[in-house]
């Protein structure tokens, strides 16, 4: 316990004791209050329970410190000497200790009153936006209480939607550690409502608590900024098609990918504009020199491509346009070419394979395919399951 209290040695002044006791007593059954009595003084070596508490606390300390640093250090950093801020920090830590204790205690003794207490207090906060239930026990809590409320709200707000059932099955510190580990993981990706509720609940009780501290302008500005960003993220979510991501980071990744995709589309479309010019076939055969056995007929394709260039412009426009686009993309970057093809539901295969397939399936289409392969310059694309869009495609759709 000493080690746990060490970071708060400046807070151990007796001036805060009555405040702490009030807070803890309102929450607590006798065990908790007795623990509260102990905390200001040197805590007794409670043996096993201490060890349990220490063990489970270590794992949750990261979690709690996240919220604590988020909430309190923002305030405490600005006014380190303000008593209520420090009291709030102390109270927050006390509450967490108490939570720890209650869970640790129940681990050894089954579903005891402390567990019920934590459940009850958590149950109060299932509706995350409601901080008033916490307010009533702490009429004198004032500003310190509000920060603790907010902390508790945030804490349980994320805990309760995720794993309330875990509270019913305390099975020693290991499970507690697992819970906290899982919750810590879940904390990073809370459900949208939970996160929105938690993030909304954290600032909201602050406003209601009317914190007139000098630290508030900072936090208010921060909160405003965060809210604006959240608004814009929501607007972006509506624009981008895959809007089911709840995490801000993955949502941003989606947005980035979508912008990349749109820019690539513009690129490809501007390439296709050139396809209408009809001079692409020779270029295309030229550009595909880098391939493997895809280039078998490149020499033939070159000469015949020049002849049939006019034909390509008129007939089978969409298919040749696609092919030309793919050729262009391949010239620059194979990856984007593959992406483009996949987006269209097509695939690339070497000519030898395509000829093998078509000869294996149906003979009469061979001449068509030969004529086609010259137009296509060595790339042959086959529709993945769609019907032939044009007579030239029929040879290639036996995929």
């Amino acid at each position: 316990m000493n080690s746990l209290l060490n970071p708060q040695t400046p807070f151990d002044s007796s001036a805060h004791d009555d405040f702490l006791e009030q807070m803890l007593s309102t929450l607590g059954p006798s065990s908790c209050s007795s623990w509260a009595d102990e905390t200001p003084t040197a805590p007794p070596s409670a043996g096993n329970s201490d060890n349990n508490v220490v063990f489970s606390y270590d794992d949750s300390s990261n979690l709690a410190s996240k919220f604590r640093s988020h909430q309190i250090s923002a305030g405490a950093a600005a006014s380190k000497s303000s008593p209520t801020a420090s009291a709030a920090a102390a109270a927050a830590m006390m509450l967490q200790h108490q939570l720890m204790m209650s869970r640790g205690g129940s681990s050894s003794s089954g579903n005891g009153a402390p567990m019920g207490l934590s459940l009850g207090s958590n149950g109060d906060f299932n509706d995350v936006g409601d901080g008033s239930s916490f307010k009533s026990p702490n009429p004198g809590g004032g500003d310190g209480g509000s920060s603790v409320q907010a902390l508790f709200n945030g804490f349980t707000g994320s805990l309760s939607p995720n794993q309330p059932q875990h509270f019913h099955h305390p099975q020693g510190g290991a499970l507690q550690a697992q819970n906290y580990g899982a919750q810590a993981a879940a904390m990073t990706q809370p459900p949208a409502n939970g996160s929105a509720g938690a993030s909304a609940a954290q600032p909201r009780p602050r406003v209601r608590a009317r914190r007139g501290q000098a630290t508030d302008p900072h936090s208010i500005a921060e909160r405003l900024r965060r809210e604006r960003i959240a608004e814009r993220m929501k607007a972006l979510q509506e624009l981008v098609p895959n809007a089911n991501k709840t995490d801000k980071a993955s949502m941003l990744d989606e947005i980035i990918d979508y912008v990349k995709f749109l820019q690539l589309q513009v690129k490809v479309l501007s390439m296709s504009r050139l396809g209408g010019a009809g001079a692409v076939a020779p270029l295309v055969t030229e550009s595909s020199e880098g391939g493997g056995d895809c280039i078998q007929t490149s020499a033939n394709g070159g000469t015949r491509g020049g002849r049939s260039g006019n034909q390509t412009a008129s007939s089978n426009d969409s298919m040749t346009v696609t092919e030309h686009q793919v050729a262009k993309l391949m010239e620059e970057d194979m990856g984007s070419a593959m992406q483009y093809l996949q987006g269209k539901g097509l695939c690339l295969m070497p000519i030898s394979l395509a000829t093998a397939i078509s000869t294996a399936t149906c003979h009469p289409r061979n001449p068509l395919m030969n004529g086609n392969s010259n137009n296509n310059h060595p790339v042959i694309t086959s529709n993945g399951g769609e019907g032939p869009s044009s007579p030239s495609m029929s040879a290639l759709t036996d995929y």
């Binding site: 900024r225 604006r228 960003i229 814009r232 993220m233 607007a235 972006l236 509506e238 624009l239 981008v240 801000k248 980071a249 941003l252 990744d253 947005i255 980035i256 979508y258 912008v259 990349k260 749109l262 820019q263 589309q265 513009v266 690129k267 479309l269 501007s270 390439m271 296709s272 504009r273 050139l274 396809g275 209408g276 010019a277 009809g278 001079a279 692409v280 076939a281 020779p282 270029l283 030229e286 550009s287 070159g302 491509g305 020049g306 260039g309 426009d317 969409s318 346009v321 262009k328 010239e331």
Partner: protein
């Protein structure tokens, strides 16, 4: 969302028509240029020619899009600036000065904002034109508008390409 749509619908329809007009005009201008596109295949220079033509077309598309949007948006301003500076790069050194200034400003702001914003937002800056010199809020705003305009651009260009 409804209000957004109602407010953006008149804008987008006129934006679309404006972009279409500008783009078609640019295309006509490009096609009128004496190019070797219709001549018999030139083995060596054609890839480069086609590449250049493709680049010109894409620049025309971006420029017409940006001018259709006007100077109301930061990204359109940045895009137009970039295009114009690129075109005058060979002739002037002023373009270099402009790009240098932008770089310095962008770096200063980036240093400030890197501390606050997460990495993904910085990644997004690269894709939105002019995104280097914006803070997170306005960056997201610009990104939303940019996405909408890109959508319009793609729709119009697919229609043109399919005809």
């Amino acid at each position: 969302m409804n209000s957004q749509h109602s407010s953006s619908r008149p804008n987008s329809s006129s934006l679309k028509s404006r972009f279409t007009l500008g783009f078609l005009r640019a295309l006509k201008r490009l096609n009128r240029q004496p190019s070797s596109s219709s001549s018999p295949p030139q083995t060596v220079s054609s890839p480069r020619e086609m590449c250049r033509r493709y680049l010109r077309i894409r620049i025309a598309a971006d420029a017409s899009m940006a001018s259709a949007v006007g100077s109301r948006r930061a990204w359109s301003r940045a895009l137009l600036l970039k295009i114009r500076s690129r075109q005058s790069r060979s002739s002037n050194s002023s373009a270099r000065r402009v790009s240098m200034k932008k770089k310095c400003l962008g770096e200063k702001i980036k240093k400030k904002k890197k501390l606050k914003c997460c990495k993904e937002i910085n990644k997004l800056r690269k894709f939105v034109p002019g995104g280097e010199a914006m803070d997170a809020c306005s960056l997201l705003d610009e990104a939303a508008h940019y996405i909408r305009c890109l959508n319009t651009q793609v729709k119009v260009m697919t229609r043109i390409a399919d005809n």
